[in-house]
Symmetry: none
């Protein structure tokens, strides 16, 4: 289970260390994609298989016949990348993903159960402050489901 918050440096070559505690679970290859809201998702290979099968399910039909599906697939697949984790636990974040969420020197690496999220550290802390305030209310909503 991936949990916790880590602030790590992004070096000049766009490398970021995965927290040591995540490495075993992540394996040696992960898939990084644009996330919803201002973050990136990092999936294990196994988790990605689940996600991608669901997204491109073509048992019955061709994936490019529906406009919504085309656009969402362009978004999720088109801007995803398979990245190796190097011998000391770092990954390389493609520029187009860095730019998307305004990453420069520093990133917040967040464990969210079955995936990891990458945030611009500033955005992350602002976001957390906001969520902090709504948390009781959000809990209430989920409780009513």
């Amino acid at each position: 289970m991936l949990i916790g918050e880590y602030i790590h440096t992004i070096d000049e070559k766009s490398r970021v260390s995965m927290p040591a505690k995540f490495r075993k679970e992540l394996g040696k290859k992960v898939i990084i994609t644009p996330g919803l809201e201002q973050c990136l998702f990092i999936f294990t290979v196994k988790e990605w298989e689940k996600v991608s099968t669901r997204l491109s399910d073509t048992k019955t039909d061709l994936s490019f016949l529906k406009a919504d599906q085309r656009n969402f697939n362009r978004y999720m697949f088109g801007r995803a990348a398979e990245v190796e984790i190097d011998s000391i636990g770092r990954i390389l974040i493609p520029d187009f993903l860095k730019d998307r969420i305004g990453l420069k020197n520093s990133a917040a690496i967040i464990g969210v159960g079955d995936r990891v999220e990458v945030w611009n550290d500033k955005t992350w802390s602002q976001n957390q402050e906001a969520v902090e305030k709504q948390a009781p209310e959000l809990a209430e909503k989920l409780g009513n489901k």
Copy 2:
């Protein structure tokens, strides 16, 4: 699985490099067709078989009996081309397809799971900005299926 975004040069001879990460999966020959929206589709030979079978499926119908199908097939088949991938991974884009999407010096090469798309790089980034905004909504829709 074909994923990721690459911006490559189109040289004076209309050649474009396929991203190294795609080459193994693409093999040595691909089919390039006009795509939906302002892009081109590139299929592996295997994927193309699926596509063409589905489009000209005669189990239920003869493909030429329906006007819509006739026209769509003219669109996809009529301007499709089989192209070889050269020894260092480049393909040659036919002029009539280049012109269709306004390609000149630079193209965005996008992996969309089971196919590759080629975009004018400007058009691609505009398109993504637009999709970015709808992404949560699209995700919601597809999630409810």
